[in-house]
């Protein structure tokens, strides 16, 4: 057990080291060793930067290497790495929160009412067929270049995913469990609170994990198309200067933001669904 665990860790670190080494020096080595036409373009630092350059860009964008000092650098640049990260994180969070809250509410209501489900069904299917990205320019037109349009974009992406899962989860609730609750004295609302919601929660969470990634995608795309701040904006600026290493910095930070949000959702999930075997707290 511990043996295989160390083996896994060893191979993970070995792969990481290999990737970093090839990324850093692969281009020079292949230029020295291979005939001219055979040097792989994918290793060219002009396109993919390289670890040392990315590190330098990180220090510069992060205001660690500025002659004027950290505080002055932060003040002087209103889309510095930290502010950009904060803005993107904040918009992703709110978009995710509003999107999943409204998705859960709509899914519960339509899941419990056959009438409403039939009335709204076709509209929801139709709206869901629109590629959400196509709506982003419209959203920016309506809500402007600020945070609101990014939150709205994330909302659009998150809502339907969470809605469909909550709806299915609500439909899948065991009818006998509902009957049992009613016979034990539960009102319609108490049934919703104590049976339908806990029972649908597993379905809801199955959608929240992808939803948090979708929210991040929504915000970044919004920032690509029209924004004043944020990590997406940072990438667009770097692209204008053909600066691959700055783009890479933003991409890595996004990765960490994504991981952070996923961990937050996962820990909430394993707490709320601790009655399910796969989330049983390991002692």
């Amino acid at each position: 057990m511990s043996n295989s665990r160390t083996a896994i860790l060893f191979w993970q670190l070995a792969i990481l080291a290999a990737v970093l080494v090839i990324w850093q020096w692969g281009f020079e080595w292949s230029k020295a060793l291979l005939p001219k036409g055979y040097v792989p373009k994918i290793l060219d630092p002009y396109f993919v930067a390289k670890p040392s350059l990315i590190w330098q860009s990180f220090l510069r964008l992060g205001c660690f290497a500025d002659a004027s000092g950290f505080a002055a650098c932060i003040k002087g640049n209103d889309n510095n790495l930290w502010l950009a990260t904060l803005v993107t994180l904040k918009n992703t969070w709110w978009g995710f929160l509003f999107g999943s809250a409204s998705g859960i509410a709509a899914g519960l209501i339509l899941g419990r009412s056959d009438f409403l489900a039939r009335v709204f069904g076709p509209y929801i299917v139709a709206l869901n067929s629109i590629p959400r990205i196509a709506l982003v320019p419209l959203v920016i037109l309506i809500f402007g270049l600020g945070d609101l349009s990014k939150i709205a974009t994330a909302w659009l992406v998150v809502f339907f995913v969470v809605f469909f899962n909550t709806f299915e989860g609500t439909r899948a609730v065991d009818r006998d469990q509902i009957a049992a609750a009613r016979l034990l004295g539960a009102s319609e609302f108490t049934v919703l609170r104590t049976v339908v919601i806990p029972s649908a929660l597993a379905w809801v969470f199955a959608s929240l994990l992808p939803a948090v990634s979708f929210a991040l995608i929504g915000v970044i795309v919004g920032e690509f198309i029209g924004a004043e701040r944020g990590l997406g904006k940072l990438i667009i600026e770097a692209e204008a200067r053909a600066n691959a290493s700055e783009m890479m910095v933003a991409i890595f930070v996004m990765m960490f933001v994504g991981i952070l949000l996923a961990i937050a959702v996962r820990s909430l999930q394993s707490y709320l669904l601790r009655w399910q075997p796969q989330f049983e707290p390991s002692v």
């Binding site: 065991d174 006998d176 469990q177 049992a180 016979l183 004295g185 104590t194 806990p198 029972s199 009655w275």
Partner: protein
């Protein structure tokens, strides 16, 4: 929502008094028709019977004869196609829960996200009984179910028999005067089933609820019931009505050696056999 201790319960301490006791459940000319793929078929046809205060009545019949359908109509879970049902003097209405009536399902209907304790305390909790007032009753119910030490466990950690005991206690903690049970031990193995019979007999012989118990298991009906109502194969009709004069307290193993058990067993067996043959002939 909490049932007041029944005045009637005290009245009928002695089984011999049941003849004079008041009627708790009255079923008159009950019928149920289902629409199966456009074709109407009769599941229950003109069933009438009464259950008196403190009686333990088993509704016995082959599978598919309409026992659950009858019970669900009595519980107000299913609309009826004809006839009338009274609990005490009130007509049973769909969706109107009678706090004096408790129901135990055959299928496992425990809430898997609640612990044993939270499952048993469910009815008290939603009735807004304060936590301190609940704790004692829940603890003693857990104890009575023989589940001390499992109070904090989730249902999936329990065996089938333990789960059914939790389900029983979840209903009994509300002190229903009338108990409707739909093959509650149908999914258990023989040994566990006998243990459950013992538990149920102990509780019933002490508290004397009015019980309508659905089963297809003749031995189970004879072990538990004071009266057996035998249903015909589909469509469910009343076939025969027996008193089970085995003295109490009963032991689920010892009852099988009584003369009465043997006599009724072979009589009902033949009667039931005709119905099983009719079921197969369909």
């Amino acid at each position: 929502m909490i049932a007041a201790p029944g005045q009637g319960r005290a009245l009928a301490r002695d089984e011999d008094q049941t003849a004079a006791a008041r009627t708790r459940i009255a079923v008159q000319g009950l019928a149920k028709r289902f629409n199966a793929s456009g074709r109407e078929f009769v599941a229950v046809d003109d069933v009438s019977f009464e259950v008196k205060q403190g009686e333990f009545v088993a509704l016995l019949g082959p599978s598919g004869c309409g026992k659950s359908t009858i019970l669900n109509m009595v519980a107000g879970l299913l609309p009826r196609s004809g006839g009338r049902i009274f609990i005490d003097d009130d007509t049973v209405e769909i969706g109107k829960v009678n706090p004096r009536v408790g129901y135990v399902f055959q299928r496992d209907t425990l809430f898997p996200w609640r612990t044993v304790e939270q499952n048993i305390g469910y009815g008290l909790e939603i009735a807004r009984l304060p936590k301190t007032a609940r704790a004692g009753r829940v603890a003693s119910a857990v104890e009575k179910a023989g589940l001390a030490g499992f109070a904090q466990s989730f249902p999936r950690m329990l065996s089938g028999g333990m789960r059914q005991r939790v389900a029983l206690m979840r209903t009994l903690i509300l002190e229903p005067e009338i108990l409707l049970m739909d093959e509650p031990f149908g999914a258990l193995d023989t040994h566990t089933k006998l243990e459950m019979h013992k538990t149920l007999l102990e509780i019933w012989e002490r508290e004397r609820q009015t019980v309508l118990f659905v089963t297809h298991d003749l031995g189970e009906a004879l072990t538990l019931a004071s009266r057996i109502i035998l249903l015909s194969a589909r469509p469910g009709r009343l076939k025969e009505d027996f008193d089970v004069a085995i003295p109490r307290p009963r032991d689920p193993v010892a009852v099988r050696e009584t003369a009465e058990f043997g006599r009724l067993y072979s009589h009902i067996w033949h009667s039931l056999g005709e119905e099983f043959r009719r079921t197969r002939a369909d």
